[in-house]
Subunit: 102 residues, 2 copies
């Protein structure tokens, strides 16, 4: 499986629109995309402006399909407004455990 | 829910024992700990010596209980052997999505 770890530093004054956009994007991804197995949003307890996405897709093609969805387009618009300059860092990963990812 | 993102840089020559120890620890955690909801191990595609754990616990008390298990003690022994000096970075998080974590 393909996993993506996204570190996001936001503009402090954009917390509320960021949270709304992250929630809408993650909910739509797991609901509407058969190839998106997980889309968790977590908040760093030590930094109120720092968040992570933990996303798991059946394969890289499913991640490519994710980037063609309308909810992804809306997220990118919100990210342009809410994420700090240079504040997004993506790490492309391969899942090792669990072996039978569901 | 409480989530932990662990970034691990390993000694390149310790890849095999690291993978065995990570597998045993993650499998035992989700199997034996009612408070451990998720323990994913992922490999950074860009760096063969870089891995992440993505762990989710019902609450911080469940994470404290995790650290008192025999499999955690075995993992700490393996980590001392396999993880590079200063190569472990833990970020304590709070899950925002999904709201009904299972």
């Amino acid at each position: 499986m393909f996993a993506l770890i996204v570190s996001l530093r936001i503009r402090p004054e954009k917390r509320e629109p960021f949270l709304r956009a992250a929630d809408a994007n993650s909910a739509a991804s797991v609901r509407d995309e058969p190839g998106c197995l997980r889309f968790d949003v977590v908040a760093d307890q030590a930094d109120p402006d720092h968040f992570f996405y933990y996303e798991v897709y059946r394969n890289e093609a499913a991640f490519d399909a994710h980037k063609r969805t309308p909810h992804y387009a809306r997220w990118r618009e919100a990210a342009a407004e809410c994420v700090a300059e240079g504040g997004q860092q993506n790490t492309r990963c391969t899942t090792l455990f669990p072996k039978d990812y569901r």
